[in-house]
């Protein structure tokens, strides 16, 4: 497939993820341009030679003209307003997003009548940094990129989104929005909450505690260095799923505390935790092959494959 057949990409929001996507898409040979709200972000991106504007209307009109794949790359609280503009100015463009939660985005997309050409996306990559200055064309290399396979998803936009993810160096994991959100509550949002709690507990120990802190504290609190507004924007749209898994974690910790109190022992947690980390270290993936988007029960087949550890490495 030639570069032209890939079509253009229009990234809406040039922060860490959107900006890195713009870089990665350009590096992969896409015609890619974008929008950013803040003037400073626009300047920084333009100075680095990227085609980014602060004029949302003109960016969307241009996207509609070239049938660009729109990528919503703003935090969840800004998604609704952006979708309203898309519905007004570029409703015929294929549409995806890189927001960390999928159910609320899908709801908002439906509310604005944009679901026909929408495919949810979530590259599982990031750092504690944010903004254009943190962007990196290599951010998605080797990452997992969740791509939605909810009912009604159409083959053409799906293939464009999957191809973009692959061209950025990621593998694609097909997911349903709801199952994605439950999964990321466990492996992305709970880590944020526990890191914050650990950072708070360490700092409460004053200079001596922070002075003695080494690798376990450093790694366990890394994501607590993320800007508070960004943490909220990542975690809070997934409040219901996060509350449920936080509840589970609290129950686990209460059991450990009772065991420490009664017997001076941590109990089962040490084994289940070790098994959990071992399962993570030993996780294997297998390649999804032979499914052609648009033919047969392709959505169902992709969904089942994703649940069972399958990843797509090529289209």
């Amino acid at each position: 497939m030639s570069i032209d057949e890939r079509g253009a990409v229009c990234v809406l929001g040039a922060g860490l993820i959107g900006g890195s996507l713009l870089r990665a898409a350009v590096a992969a040979g896409y015609r890619a341009f974008g929008y950013n709200r803040s003037e400073s972000g626009v300047s920084a991106a333009c100075q680095d030679g990227f085609d980014v504007s602060g004029d949302l209307s003109s960016v969307l009109v241009r996207a509609a003209e070239v049938d660009a794949l729109l990528v919503v790359a703003v935090p969840m609280p800004a998604v609704e307003s952006l979708l309203a503009d898309i519905a007004a100015l570029a409703p015929g463009c294929p549409l995806t997003d890189v927001v960390s939660v999928k159910g609320p985005v899908l709801d908002a997309v439906r509310k604005h009548g944009l679901e026909a050409l929408y495919v949810g996306g979530h590259p599982m990559a990031g750092t504690a940094e944010s903004g254009w200055s943190a962007t990196d064309s290599e951010l998605f290399q080797g990452a997992v990129w969740a791509v939605g396979v909810d009912e009604g998803t159409r083959a053409q936009p799906w293939s464009r989104v999957a191809r973009l993810a692959l061209d950025c160096g990621s593998v694609v994991v097909p997911v349903l929005a709801e199952e994605h959100d439950h999964a990321v509550a466990r492996i992305s949002h709970l880590p944020h909450v526990l890191a914050e709690a650990l950072a708070q507990a360490g700092a409460a120990g004053g200079k001596l505690a922070l002075g003695l802190a080494a690798g376990s504290f450093r790694d366990g609190t890394r994501v607590a260095g993320t800007a508070p507004d960004l943490v909220r924007a990542i975690c809070e749209p997934n409040a219901a799923a996060l509350e449920r898994v936080l509840d589970e974690a609290i129950e686990t910790l209460v059991t450990a505390r009772e065991s420490l109190r009664a017997q001076g022992r941590l109990g089962e947690l040490v084994e289940t935790g070790f098994r959990g980390r071992t399962a993570y270290d030993d996780r294997t993936t297998w390649d999804i092959t032979g499914i052609v988007p648009g033919t047969g029960d392709w959505l169902g087949e992709l969904y089942r494959a994703g649940r069972e550890g399958g990843v797509l490495r090529a289209l």
Copy 2:
């Protein structure tokens, strides 16, 4: 000071910490030898050219002959029995340890009448690995090494322990045993417990969750990869302090959960956690100078300096 004046070092236990210390001491020019319980560890160390034996009695007799600094480098559950042998065969040797908790070791040392020449130690370094194969002469480079300044500590063994830590590339933070144990409950033992809980929660999400897991889960669960017996040996001797800080953390998490439930918001935790991590990133140390062990109120001065972020970089 010449190498001979440094005296010999006898490391009792050649696991990750003890074995690395043996390597680092030899690299720094010390006459260093050791003991290890397991035959496989002895063989591995000898094959690498180190002077390690499985015969504890002969090792201790030799240590007594050359006035070696004894370093107890076995997990807490094995400390008592080792101290009994030391009391029988090498009671006149200066004595330190690298165990992750200081109060229980000090109690055991007193029980065996060895407190006169004892100085507690704890290098804040490690990995999730264990055993001789994981040892590394560079493990202590740039690390913080807590060295006890409890009442009754004598200048000569203190200086030998501090010098060994410095020669291994660490900086020395003077601590009281009790304050050390409270601090490490926050920055070393709580991280283990939270990592285990996170690993358990992630694995409960099955292949999809583990397949989507990225940096925040990987870093947040890293220490859950530590062998369960080692985690218990590290954390459980500090059960009382750990229970207290775990209680604090649970309270923090319950507040966040209630806030999520009531308002869909994480609340204050995001700010306090960010501030905590920032305090860790921005922590500064200053050099302790001008205190001569054995003169004036040297123990009190070292203690106060350690509490306030002071570190010793040279003797």
